[in-house]
Symmetry: none
Subunit: 216 residues, 4 copies
DNA sequence: GATGAATGAGTATTCATTCAT
DNA sequence: GATGAATGAATACTCATTCAT
């Protein structure tokens, strides 16, 4: 009866896994990705060895964090897609996704440095991407979004907003909303005075290349 | 003529100083501020001791880099102010300043992490700020810039663009120009469909507080 | 029985701790406090990391050495106090304490340089002091010790003897006993030809000030 | 006429030499032998290169300091020898020599560590030794000094006093005089209660061996 | 001769990772 | 499985010494 003896352990293991991920999110948020795994372990209330049992190395732990966060953003995107008004849907997505990321500053660093293009991350991205694309294309079909933006612009926009949020820190934690508002105004369909976008959007293949070329 | 015999040595020293700053910019750009000074020294073709002779510690070197760069941006701002059309002036400034920063990606990390509020940095910031304020206020006086943006928004905008540039890396090094265009469109005076900015701009005192509260 | 499974590890750790302290005593004795912790680690047969696991930094290691040694001296003082004859008690203490210190020459440097007034050291000193004071006062009460010496003179006397021992090194490792004998003769109660002590003894508060003002 | 062009230079050089020695004494006194030659040079108001022109390396500089100081002590001994009363002569010597050494704390460290038995030091010692021996032997001949002390005990006595002075630092800079008084009382000829010296004095040859075996 | 710039080996300390218990 | 002790490579920084000016 392997089940009887496995299940409890798996439950413990899963609990520990969650504890570690949670601790890692806190610690990395507070002190950046440079924080030590000893600190993560201490925060999680387990030994370092346990961290290494759950995650083969630091990078993998960081990637798991990334994956989890991407999952949350995918959820946000899916819920936004359910919104009937396509402009509201897009704005809601940008707002909620940015809000998630802004509240969790360590994440920006993760987005920037921790993605070695490993499979799990690529798969998580692959789940998010089509939803975002759907949001963008529906808005353009409905004539409420300028036609020269692409779905690949969305990650950049979120990334920029997170950077603003991280910089402002606790001094002005909501200031990114100003820049989201400005950007949203700039996403409206072209009218008099609209500047043409001077460079083509990134192709999906380029997004992949970017992820693969991130440092470290 | 003691000058004649003093200068040559100083020239060497100054040359090395420039070499080190240049190497530091390259190395920090490529591998982030975490790169070692041994690597900087190797890249500069000097011994570590020489780096430490010119800059008492790593932070000081980083600050020198930052200060130099801020100086360049101040120059860009001053030249833009000479432009008669106030909208063109503002756009030119954003474009040229962002171009400077995007070409030198390590700078973003410096902006984020290396400013311990030391005097030299604050002084460099103090020189840039009034010029930017002049650009912004003139544009608003001339009715070409939405009235709810503030001069303190400009550093955030540049910062976001640099983040985009850094993320895109060599795969799409000019993509930040898309986002600058979008943001510029969002800076136009309010018209139908313009969203109100949901949070007040940062006060100058808050900008100071942000600089002082940066991590590390 | 979690104890049974905990202890073995702790035993190893404790063993290593002892090994490191022992190695540190040897290395510091041989090459002074300037010796590197790498050397201590090598001598102890462990990695540097292990030294740092046991002692957060070099100073703490040095202090631990100091504390342990002070403890031994306190033991010597307590055993001497049990001796019924008060002169013999004092002489025995000086002899045995000096013998301990002379055998472990690195200690002199520790006494001189390593005491940053940290709590553990002060506490260790606080345990020794009253016993020494009791030895001195009893001898004076019994009229066998000159009345113008104070208990604060004892550390100085030991310190001087250790300096002599350290200087003589292995060439004449017992020579400090000559100077102890000379000093002991000088501690006898005043008689014809006794010179008055020209400066007052250090007050307890001055002893503290000395410890706090030690260089480095 | 090499004289005409040499002399002025030699005067400058000699001046610099003296400046450097003086600066070294101050710096080493204040911060120990570990102080850097850059600091010595700065204190002397010359470049490091000049220090190295005058003294081939740090050890040699330290030895020169030692030699100079031994010279001063020799002068003290010689003047003491001129004193008609042989006990007063010995006491005066111990007092003045110790006073010289106590005022110059860095010297103790020099005495302890810097003497590699090089020729110049040995020669300086060779000049001091017979004078001290004369002081001791005359006092013994006149029956005012215990007969079991030897002239080789004198350096040890001075060394111990210097150690006490260094330990007391600025808190109680004259406290060594207490211990000199106690020791002097112990040097009186044997009478009732005098303890025999338990170990033979160091032979002159042993003193040499000690100097040669000093660490570093 | 004098100067101070350059060098690089050496030191304290940290931290990802392994492994005995 | 979990634990935390051990490891050692890596990093910032110092300083004796050399050498071009």
């Amino acid at each position: 009866m392997p089940n009887a003896s496995d299940r409890p352990l798996r439950r413990d293991a899963a609990l520990n896994r969650r504890r570690i991920l949670h601790a890692a999110a806190e610690v990395f948020t507070a002190r950046g990705l440079g924080a030590s795994l000893d600190d993560v372990a201490r925060q999680a209330g387990v030994g370092v060895g346990t961290v290494y049992r759950r995650f083969p190395d630091k990078d993998t732990l960081i990637e798991a964090l990334f994956e989890e966060r991407l999952g949350a953003i995918t959820g946000v995107a899916e819920r936004a897609l359910a919104e009937p008004d396509s402009w509201t849907a897009l704005v809601t997505f940008l707002e909620n996704a940015s809000s998630l990321m802004a509240a969790d500053r360590g994440l920006r660093e993760i987005l920037m440095y921790a993605s070695h293009g490993r499979d799990r991350i690529l798969r998580a991205k692959a789940r998010l991407q089509p939803v975002v694309t759907a949001l963008v294309e529906r808005a353009q079909r409905d004539g409420v979004l300028r036609t020269d933006v692409a779905s690949t612009d969305m990650p950049f926009i979120q990334f920029m907003l997170t950077a603003a949020a991280e910089y402002a820190g606790d001094v002005s934690p909501d200031i990114w909303r100003r820049y989201l508002a400005i950007i949203i105004d700039g996403l409206r369909p072209a009218r008099a005075g609209t500047s043409p976008l001077p460079v083509p959007a990134a192709e999906p293949g380029q997004m992949l290349a970017i992820m693969r070329s991130l440092p470290r």
